[in-house]
């Protein structure tokens, strides 16, 4: 029983990071119908940038964190302006390949600057665990779950009440209509990329804090999140969060109970097996908008 609880807890924690990255995915997909395969690289870059700002300028962590977010806000806008905007109207394969190419470039930049060694993270969270019932829980875990909750509320409010959020929803609904109502679709795209980059950077820093270091494996999160967004529905913010938590728990349970039987590796493949099942049963996910088209 304790083993089960521990696995579930680990799942919730890693799932909350998935949810953050998935949130970035969904925001980009919602506004511009692009599946960004470079999301994992954003996460990795975010973790590296934050730790090297701390290392180079000896500023407190919160300042470095804010600087990182500012950097990513600008980076997201630049990406959209320079790379993605010329791709409007191109076939899906071209856009997918563009994000894969971008992922390759980002990985190369990270490897060129920081090498392949793990870089240690400054301690963000106090190491003393908190007791929840019978289980000791590290404070970093709690913090990351809490911050995901806060972001969820923030984004729900953003999409519901702010002008920009409503404009984004309008753009997602129909670009033509949004344009004719005076929404600048280009600004919306830039905003979406900026938000997605910032959210990923938050995920990267949190993950760095939880793991105590950052390395190239962070980029793999970008692929791991694909089953999450499909489960939740590609265009649903709530779906990203719920999907992230479910996938995190599923992968940890599968890893914990099945790895001894198969000899390792189940944890990595379980989300993808689930993905096949979701695609054949409910391709638009739990909360996604169903688009019916018959051939």
């Amino acid at each position: 029983m304790e083993f089960l609880l521990q696995l579930t807890l680990n799942g919730v924690v890693i799932g909350s990071i998935y949810a953050l990255v998935a949130l970035g995915f969904v925001i980009i997909y919602k506004s511009s119908s692009i599946l960004n395969f470079a999301q994992g690289e954003f996460l990795m870059l975010g973790a590296y940038v934050c730790v090297s700002i701390v290392g180079a300028y000896h500023v407190p962590l919160w300042a470095a964190f804010l600087l990182t977010l500012a950097f990513f806000a600008v980076l997201g806008i630049l990406m959209e302006r320079l790379l993605l905007r010329p791709m409007i109207g191109e076939p899906v394969i071209s856009v997918i390949m563009l994000t894969l190419g971008l992922a390759s470039i980002l990985k190369a930049i990270v490897q060129g600057i920081w090498g392949t060694e793990t870089i240690a993270y400054p301690t963000i969270f106090p190491s003393a665990p908190v007791m929840i019932g019978p289980l000791p829980v590290s404070q970093g875990y709690l913090f990351s779950v809490a911050s995901v909750g806060v972001l969820l509320v923030l984004f729900s409010a953003f999409f519901k009440y702010t002008r920009a959020g409503i404009a984004m929803r309008a753009t997602a609904f129909s670009q033509q209509v949004a344009l004719s109502m005076g929404v600048s679709v280009q600004h919306i795209f830039a905003l979406a990329w900026s938000i997605a980059a910032v959210v990923s950077a938050v995920g990267g820093v949190l993950l760095g804090g939880i793991r105590g270091g950052v390395d190239g494996a962070f980029a793999f999160f970008g692929l791991k999140v694909v089953p999450v967004v499909i489960l939740g529905g590609l265009d649903s913010v709530l779906g990203a969060i719920v999907g992230g938590l479910i996938m995190g728990i599923l992968e940890n349970l599968a890893g914990g109970y099945l790895d001894p039987i198969f000899g390792g590796g189940v944890k990595e493949v379980a989300p993808f097996i689930a993905l096949v099942a979701i695609l054949s049963l409910k391709p638009y996910g739990l909360f996604g908008k169903v688009k019916i088209e018959r051939v």
């Binding site: 599946l35 790379l83 997918i96 190419g101 390759s104 990985k107 190369a108 051939v295």
Partner: protein, 347 residues
Amino acid sequence: MNCGQFRETYREDMAIFETNFARGLLALFLVALAAAPAFLSFFWMDVLNRILIAVIAATGLNILTGFTGQISLGNAAFLAVGAYSTAFFAGRLGLPFLLVIPMSGLMTALVGMVFGVPSLRLKGLYLAVATLAAHFVIEFTASHWDGVTGGVNGISVPPAKLGGLELSGDRRLFYLVLPLTVLMLFFAKNLFRTKTGKAFVAIRDQDISAEVMGVNVFKYKLLSFGVSSFYVGVAGSLVAYHANIISPENFPITVAIDQLGMIIIGGLGSILGSIFGAVFITLLPEVLRVGTGALGDTFPKLIDLFAPLKQGVFGLAIVLFLLFEPDGMAARWHSIRNYWKLYPFSY
């Protein structure tokens, strides 16, 4: 060069070679290529073999993605299926390569068609995601089905034998790879002159109108998955013969991305493009290696930067091609050729 050449029949219009001159030029090129082992070093023979294998795989992917419009991120896994089939048929059953290669192709075609079934319901992004899942599932199978695949330690493949002659080493293997590549390219080129090929293109351009015009979309999508995977399986079989030992590490997801890069850079929906792309992407790291090696004495840091440099240049090439020449090298080639066709009186 071919002024005054007019096409008077449909037959002439459909011909693969416009003139006898082109035919002669290609024959000359093939003869030169066949003589290459006499001149090239071991290193470049290895590269040449890898290029030809990549040409077959890229052509297969182009049939599926470029001509039929079905995005596949599962190509590395299909390559692995072909390679492991070869290891099984040649190693376990001891069959000759003349049987092993087509059988590996058919095996892969079967697996490809199984993963092609969802393509009727799933389109675009969703299909890409489904094939991504296929990749990880097959990779997991390859590293855990120890009895057949040898697990993570890999499995060895006996060399192909022609009579008493072992086709081991790059020089000898080359004479197996080259004819096979030429054969498969000709088949692909001809495929798109037939009803089947035209049906593929119709599905790519608009699947609903293809259905309305009497193309059985499901049948031809499956067929496209089958033909494409057959090509990839044959390439995988050659990878196995070339590498001698195969393990799951030979087929990471980056191989699938590389191959997508090949057809993007070469040109989607063009057989010539698959060739250009495969040559470009396979040569890129080798040229970089030679380049960094030469400059390594002056800038010793460059050697350490080789791996990121390779990856960065690859990504940059894809992004630049997509932004500035989305139709790939094949389109550039055609525009250059058309310019010289009527030179200097191009009007």
